[in-house]
């Protein structure tokens, strides 16, 4: 009866739209403008990397996309709808700090989001095992967080983010505490999963090499107040290889970002 509804342009799952978003924190001493008039469009299935100097508002932006914090002004839509509340069916988050539950084992931490959805014990365990294997923590499932090294905790946290399989994945410096080799392996793993599932990924990192290596698009931010200063497309072909790292195209993209960062830090 209402064919128009079907004709109207339908925002596909995974699109992110950020429109004139601002965020002001009230602190005891003064008001802090963390983000100022940020606009951004991420098409479904894109791998977008967010870079910018410490304190420029990357984490804040991610929290807003996840529905964990409300913007002071502007609008954000995920898959066509605003996100006033976190919605694990639309968005998954890997936090900057591992924030594991100390009373659960690594395994149980990874199972946590599945348990919330009432998935059966066996299923949960199997999927958690798989995710832990993916991050190289085979055999560490029974350990509690305080028995893990810093990098291991971060990897558990990544596994926890991956296991829930949402269309949009927000990752806040997930590889910061990892050594270069693990970091590369995990980056490749992530790209593989991304390519296979068609997820939209927003990824924060401080490593420019990592940024260019992983991204379809790199968004560069400047601090105080947080603004987008550049938005580059990375035209390198997929799958990415380590050889590309030493290529000219790669170098010039990296340099361009580097100049922004240097200026604003």
């Amino acid at each position: 009866m209402q064919p128009l509804a079907n004709i109207a342009p339908l925002k596909p799952a995974g699109a992110i739209e950020v429109r004139n978003v601002g965020q002001v924190f009230k602190t005891t001493t003064q008001d802090v403008v963390a983000l100022d008039n940020v606009s951004l469009d991420v098409k479904p299935g894109r791998f977008v990397v967010l870079v910018g100097p410490s304190g420029c508002g990357k984490s804040t932006l991610l929290m807003m996309m996840a529905g964990l914090r409300q913007q002071t002004s502007g609008t954000i839509t995920i898959s066509g709808a605003p996100i006033p509340e976190p919605d694990p069916n639309r968005v998954g988050v890997v936090f900057q700090e591992a924030s594991l539950f100390p009373w659960l084992t690594a395994e149980e931490n990874v199972e946590f989001p599945l348990a919330l959805r009432g998935i059966s014990k066996n299923d949960r365990r199997a999927r958690a095992q798989e995710a832990l294997k993916l991050v190289g923590l085979d055999g560490f499932g029974k350990r509690h967080p305080h028995e893990l090294s810093g990098g291991m905790k971060q990897r558990v946290s990544i596994a926890r983010g991956l296991v829930q399989d949402p269309p949009v994945l927000l990752m806040d410096e997930p590889f910061a505490a990892l050594d270069e080799q693990t970091r590369m392996t995990m980056g490749d793993e992530l790209l593989r999963i991304w390519a296979a599932t068609g997820k939209t990924v927003v990824f924060v990192t401080h490593s420019l090499t990592e940024a260019v290596y992983l991204a379809d698009e790199v968004i560069v931010m400047s601090p105080r107040p947080g603004r987008i200063v550049d938005h580059l497309q990375v035209p390198l072909p997929r799958p990415r290889t380590y050889e590309m790292l030493s290529g000219d195209a790669f170098g010039s993209l990296r340099d361009r970002i580097w100049r922004h960062i240097r200026k604003s830090a």
Partner: protein, 265 residues
Amino acid sequence: MSAASVRRLIVIGLIALWEILPRMGFIPELFLPSLSSTLAAGWNEAGEYAHALAVTLYEVAISMAFACGGGILLGAVVGSLPRPRILIMPMVSSLYAVPLVILYPVFTVWLGIGSESKIAFASIYGFLPTMLATAAGIQTIDPQLLLAARSMGATLSQRLVRVIIPAAIPTVLSGLRVGGALVIVGVVVSEMLISSAGIGYLISRYRTILDSPHVFAGVLLVLAMAVAFNAAIKWIEGKAAIWQTGTRAGQSAEEIAPAALQPAT
């Protein structure tokens, strides 16, 4: 309507009921004399009540110092040292399980029937919960913070004062509240049981001769003490507010996004 005014309305309502219910004969005067006759009774014997109040306050003040000061300090020490904690805590909580009220008459044999026995009873009554609660609160402290303090050469007492107590401040405050309240209860109850001075004594004396207005005049004084004690705690909480920033108790409404403030059931 603001929370404070709702609260004020409730208080006013209770006061009005106190006057109206007995007046209308819904409750016999024996159980609840009207507020006005209570006040009149108290006023007529103002001198007697003033003297009793002085005695009770003196006992409360001394017991408070033992119960709260000692309880928090010892709780913090015991809670932060694993060995004594494992050894002592179960014994202490078992000790508290001995129903002291029953033994109170025998108690007076050794301590006399003057203030000493009230102070001893109220101190123990308030001390143990304060100590237990504080020690339990200490266990929720992030061990990393203690590690950091240790690495900077903090002595045991410095760790106690600068790390353990501030980190456990919500627990410590509630320990203070519980301990202080129990001290008031302990003093009044022991006075009611066996004594020849103090508000509790007046209450039970007038009760024995069914003089309910005078009984409730005494109760009113106990209520006044509770109000004063609450005001004092509030003042301390205000002072401690700066310490609480960053903990849940101290965060303003905007900090924790709105959803977290919804009642959970």
